[in-house]
Symmetry: C3
Subunit: 265 residues, 3 copies
């Protein structure tokens, strides 16, 4: 089976299974993540209280932990949920928003990265920050050293934490520590809509719920969102209309469009 | 006066009175609830701190309590606000999001349902869960038993708590424990937009502010939102554009459109 | 240089500098504020925990403090952030949402207003409430006395707290306590979209990051948002589509459009 076949199969599986995706995510993107998951065909839920996160993890097929708008009470819930997901064999995806920006944020991101996420997705700066913080070996790697250095750091980081790591940007790099795959889908206008990185992590979680190969699930998710962004950009006249069209396109993607449009390697 | 006349009268009254609707609601839908209330002609406010909820209840004409993203501090505020609303004779509407999913969520929903809401609106699963939790008589009713059983449970639940209960879905059922009315407006695409159930509860609260018959207010609200969804679906190419058109349509509904389109019985 | 030249220069400077705007804002508008800032060309971040707000202020070029959805933990973070911004010479903008509605809200707004914001933006009711609460001299001014009285109160309030004060509405008034400038851009449909006042404050903060004259920065921000609203209204069929077009227009504003459309005096 080719990668492209895989993307369509993953999307079909999400639409059929309608996996419940449990999100502990930031205030900014709760609504947009939920809409993207619904458009994809998944079933989103946002549940964050320590009183109920563990019970809810048991109901869900995948979990997202996104540290965009952090506070100690939420971090406590994130740790409980991550532990339960691991105990139950549920895949969980970490979005280390802003890792490296403040010491608190970096510490929380590093702590969570060591709690066995299936996938960590961030931009180059976030992943480099995490890689540096969790491994002496990658110290000295600098965001200004370019993507080659970032990919080497991501591979070492992936091996160290036993997760798939996705470094997203104009080109997305996905690695399990050995293999490195790339996705070339996407559109520059997507960077002008808030939270599409966070949306990518939510879509990854939905794909993890139906595809057990974590590298494939991650790559398929990024291809689907990137392709939807490209097609939405054709209909849009700016970032506002792009976001609405993105949900329409995600909901309507058919096999021919996916097979023609996906650019992964 | 026919039901259809009543729907238009209620909408006109909201537009004229511009009732202040106080929302203690979940993070996911705060923005979309506010936009729906503004489009309808009401005046929304989101206020949740225990330091000020009671004072704010005094200013508002109706209150929404929605447990979508629960935590103990918010539950404390919900209880204070509900008590004040009852003391002041303000109608309040309960949205028991996810009742039945976790024990914490079920306990909070049941507790609130017994605090004299004017209306409780949920899907069949949520209402059945609440009905079971608050009354021995409905134990054994199961979501798989179909809507007839759900309606019987809703009627008993409505009598027990002294509220109007709305079970929304492809067809909406509204009961005060004796009468059962139905609304057939709505469109399947609405289920692909996050939070339209929560939006329905907010619209119900706005209608309660201007229509003292609680069953009528609830039915009118569901008809208006459902009709707007149908008309928006005609303009939309998916869930993203549906949401935007929904607000446009709500803001522009005229008497002829309402009288022609409302399907309640 | 004319005012109109100034507006274009400010917009160009935001697009070039891409200032990081730190928002401690309410749950309702986090997403829409972020999208507006991105559309304008700025770089938004929402960070509210006491564990990291001070460190984040150091990274940002401007700060927004918006009290829309208040609670004590957030107020503590607001005070820390405001103090740090002042200590570091970063401009910060206060949005006293709902000042006057409850005693808690009024007290928090007054306290923050005395912590050296660069700009305070609110509607006439909010500014009058703050002006009354912070100065004996303006007691007795009443919202029903019309905008002349409101402007006198705003001038006195601006002098007292050493800030620029913007009273926004159908016409926007901006004063530093001595000068009063007006902006006539905007469209009535903007009042049917939630949070566009909050968005105005966020845009003011972005402009403060690149324009040291606080009155000019405020006036330019209000003109840009108002003009974008006018042009979006031409494309829109209601409040839902208005919001999407608003981001598109903001992202696409060119010099000719700005020079032709800005109405400030």
């Amino acid at each position: 089976m080719t990668h492209v076949d895989g993307v369509w199969r993953t999307l079909s599986a999400v639409r059929t299974a309608r996996p419940l995706v449990h999100n502990i995510t930031n205030y900014v993107v709760m609504n947009s993540s939920a809409n993207a998951l619904l458009a994809l065909g998944a079933s989103p839920a946002m549940v964050h209280s320590t009183e109920e996160v563990e019970e809810f993890v048991d109901l869900a097929q995948a979990l997202v932990i996104n540290i965009g708008t952090l506070s100690p009470a939420w971090v406590a819930a994130m740790k409980l949920a991550a532990a339960r997901a691991v105990a139950r064999g549920r895949p969980w995806a970490l979005d280390p928003v802003g890792a490296g920006a403040t010491s608190y944020r970096s510490a929380v991101a590093s702590d969570l990265a060591l709690r066995q996420p299936a996938v960590v997705r961030g931009n180059a700066s976030e992943i480099l920050s995490l890689a540096r913080a969790t491994s002496e070996a990658t110290r000295g790697v600098d965001a200004t050293q370019g993507s080659e250095a970032a990919i080497d750091a991501a591979k070492a980081f992936a091996r160290r934490i036993g997760a798939v790591v996705a470094v997203t940007g104009a080109v997305d790099y996905v690695t399990d520590g050995e293999r490195v795959a790339t996705c070339h889908n996407g559109h520059p206008l997507m960077t002008r809509v808030t939270g599409l990185g966070c949306t990518a992590t939510a879509v990854i979680a939905a794909c993890l719920a139906v595809e057990s190969d974590r590298l494939s699930a991650t790559l398929h998710a990024l291809a689907l969102l990137g392709l939807a962004g490209e097609l939405a950009a054709e209909r849009a006249s700016g970032p506002g209309t792009l976001q609405m069209h993105l949900y329409d396109v995600l909901a309507g993607l058919d096999r021919e469009t996916v097979e023609r449009g996906v650019r992964i390697a």
